[in-house]
C-alpha cells in the first residue's frame, strides 16, 4: 500500500470516529436542551408526594414513576431469564458442540438475532393467547413481555459467551487440564472467569436492547396507564412505550416536552443498569479469582 493510500485511510478513520462522536453529542445535547426543563419531581411523581409513591402507599397518576418501575422490572426479569440460558448455550456451543450440529445451531442463533422485534412480539402475543385458553388468569403481562424480550436478546448472550470462550488463547485452555482438571472444572474455574468481560459485554448489549425495545412490549402487556405493576401477571407501564405513545398522541407542546424528559430518564436508567452490571462483573470476577 502506498504512503498516500495509508494517509488517506487514517484521515478517513479519524473523520468517521469524529462524525460518530458528533452524532452522539448532537442527540444527547438536543435531548437535554429540549427535555431538561421538564425533568423534576413533578414529572416523575405528579401530584403524589414522592415518599408515598416510593412506599407504594398512593398511586401516581400523572407521573412517570410507574413507567420507570415497569421498565426496571421488565429489563431485570428478561435479562434474568436470558442470562442462565444464554451462558449455558454459549458454553455448549464453544466447548461441546462439534461439526454439523454446531454449524446448524450457529445458523439458527444468527437467524434469531435477525428476527425483527415486532415478530418476537407477535410470538409473545400468540403465546399469551395460547396460555389464556388453558389458564384463564393469564393475559399479556409483565411475565409474557419478559419472556419475549429474553428470546429477543438470547442470541447476543449466547454468541458473546461462545466467542469469549473460543477466543481464549490455546495455552490458557490447557493450564488447568494439565493440572488434572476435568472438562467441567476447567470451564467453571478457569475458562468462564477468564471470559467474563466478553460475556458481560453481551449482557450489557442485552440490557440496552430490553430497555429500549417498544415493539415487543407493545404487543405483550405494556399499556398507557396501569400504575406500578402489582404482580408478574399484571399489565404494566414502560418508558419506551410512554415515549412512543406521547409522541404520537400528544395534545399540547407541554406533553411532547415530557416525552423528551422521559427519554432522559430512560437514558439515566440505562446508565444505572450498566453501572450495576459492571459492579456485578467486578464482584463475580473477585469471587471467582481473587478471593483469598
Amino acid at each position: 500500500m502506498s504512503r498516500w493510500m495509508e494517509r488517506t485511510l487514517i484521515v478517513f478513520c479519524w473523520i468517521c470516529g469524529l462524525a460518530l462522536l458528533a452524532a452522539i453529542t448532537a442527540i444527547i445535547g438536543y435531548l437535554l436542551y429540549k427535555g431538561m426543563g421538564t425533568v423534576n419531581l413533578t414529572l416523575i411523581f405528579g401530584d403524589t408526594s414522592p415518599v408515598d409513591a416510593l412506599l407504594l402507599r398512593k398511586h401516581v397518576f400523572a407521573g412517570l414513576f410507574p413507567a420507570m418501575v415497569g421498565t426496571v422490572a421488565v429489563v431485570t426479569l428478561s435479562v434474568g431469564f436470558a442470562i442462565p440460558v444464554g451462558i449455558a448455550s454459549g458454553i455448549y456451543m464453544a466447548e461441546y458442540a462439534r461439526g454439523g450440529v454446531k454449524t446448524v445451531l450457529g445458523f439458527f442463533f444468527d437467524i434469531l438475532a435477525g428476527v425483527p422485534s415486532i415478530v418476537i412480539g407477535l410470538f409473545g402475543f400468540a403465546l399469551a393467547i395460547f396460555l389464556h385458553k388453558h389458564f384463564s388468569s393469564i393475559y399479556p403481562s409483565l411475565f409474557i413481555s419478559s419472556l419475549s424480550l429474553a428470546v429477543l436478546v438470547l442470541p447476543y448472550i449466547i454468541r458473546s459467551t461462545q466467542f469469549a470462550l473460543e477466543n481464549l488463547p490455546a495455552a490458557t485452555k490447557l493450564i488447568a487440564v494439565a493440572l488434572g482438571a476435568t472438562k467441567l472444572q476447567n470451564i467453571v474455574y478457569v475458562l468462564i472467569p477468564k471470559s467474563l468481560s466478553g460475556i458481560f459485554s453481551g449482557v450489557i448489549l442485552a440490557t440496552g436492547r430490553c430497555a429500549e425495545d417498544t415493539a415487543v412490549i407493545l404487543l405483550t402487556g405494556a399499556v398507557a396507564f396501569a400504575g406500578v405493576p402489582k404482580s408478574l401477571f399484571a399489565q404494566y407501564e414502560a418508558l419506551p412505550f410512554y415515549i412512543y405513545y406521547i409522541s404520537s398522541q400528544y395534545a399540547n407542546q407541554q406533553e411532547l416536552l415530557s416525552g423528551y424528559g422521559a427519554s432522559i430518564i430512560l437514558l439515566l436508567i440505562c446508565a444505572l443498569l450498566f453501572f450495576i452490571a459492571s459492579m456485578i462483573r467486578k464482584g463475580v470476577t473477585y469471587q471467582a479469582l481473587y478471593r483469598a
Binding site: I175, A176, V177, A178, L179, G180, Y189, K194, A292
Partner: protein, 237 residues
C-alpha cells in the same frame, strides 16, 4: 545405569492428520533422572511430552498408536487404557510450560489450585502443602509475606517457579518441563536449573530444551528428536 525403569515406550506413533511427528519410538527412561530432549523447533518435542500426560487428546486431529507405560507406586500402568482416567494420570505427571502461566489469582490460590481440583477442602492442610511446594520450588522465602497478593505481580522467573510449585503440590512422580527457562534471563534460569537438579531425588524429570549448555549442565541422558526418532546423544559428566 542401574536405575529401575520409570517410563517404558513401545512402538509409539503420533501424527497430526497425515503429518507424522513420532515414528516407532521405543524408549526406556530411568527413575530419578533428568532426561533432556533437544532438536529444532517444530519437530515435535512438546508433542512428545504431551503423549506422557495425554494432553495430546485435547488437540483436534491428533492420532496416537503404541504403548506408553509408567510405573506408579511400583506398578506399570498403560496410560492410554480406556478405564484409566486422564485426570488421575495428570495428577501424577506434572507439567510446566514454556511461558509462565499463573492464573489471575493470589499466589497461595495458584499453588493450591490443583488441590481444589482434586477435591481437597481442608484449609489448614492446604496451607501446609502450599508452604512445602513453595519451598521445594525455591520460592517460599521470596513470597512468604505476600501469599495473598496477585501472582501476576511476580517477576517472570518467580512466576515460573510458582508454576513449578503448582505442578509439585500434588507430589507427582514425573515432571514434564517444556523449555522452562527459555522466556527468562540467565540468572532466573540458573535458579531453576539448580532446583530441577534438586528435584531428582523425588521425581523423574523430562525436559525439552534449546540450550546445549543447559542440557549438558543438568541432564543425565540426552536424546535428539529428528524425523520422528530419538537419537541418543553423548553427555559430558
Amino acid at each position: 545405569m542401574n536405575d529401575p525403569i520409570k517410563i517404558k515406550i513401545e512402538h509409539l506413533f503420533f501424527r497430526y492428520g497425515d503429518r507424522f511427528v513420532l515414528r516407532d519410538v521405543n524408549l526406556r527412561i530411568a527413575e530419578n533422572t533428568i532426561t533432556a530432549i533437544i532438536g529444532p523447533s517444530g519437530i515435535g518435542k512438546s508433542t512428545f511430552l504431551m503423549t506422557l500426560n495425554r494432553l495430546w487428546e485435547t488437540i483436534p486431529g491428533a492420532k496416537l498408536q503404541g504403548r506408553v507405560e509408567i510405573k506408579f507406586q511400583g506398578q506399570f500402568q498403560e496410560i492410554h487404557d480406556r478405564d484409566y482416567p486422564p485426570t488421575t494420570l495428570r495428577r501424577s505427571v506434572g507439567m510446566v510450560f514454556q511461558t509462565p502461566n499463573p492464573l489471575p489469582m493470589s499466589i497461595s490460590r495458584n499453588v493450591s489450585f490443583p488441590l481444589k481440583l482434586a477435591g481437597l477442602r481442608q484449609k489448614s492442610a492446604m496451607a501446609d502443602r502450599v508452604e512445602q511446594a513453595l519451598k521445594r520450588a525455591y520460592l517460599w522465602d521470596e513470597v512468604k509475606d505476600r501469599l495473598n497478593e496477585d501472582a501476576l505481580l511476580l517477576s517472570g522467573g518467580q512466576q515460573q517457579r510458582l508454576c513449578i510449585a503448582r505442578a509439585l503440590i500434588l507430589e507427582p512422580e514425573i515432571l514434564l518441563l517444556d523449555e522452562p527457562t527459555s522466556s527468562l534471563d540467565s540468572k532466573s534460569g540458573a535458579v531453576i536449573e539448580e532446583l530441577l537438579v534438586n528435584l531428582k531425588g523425588s521425581c523423574t524429570l523430562l525436559i525439552v530444551s534449546h540450550y546445549q549448555d543447559q542440557v549438558q549442565r543438568i541432564a543425565d541422558t540426552v536424546f535428539e528428536l529428528a524425523e520422528g526418532k530419538f537419537i541418543p546423544m553423548p553427555v559430558r559428566k
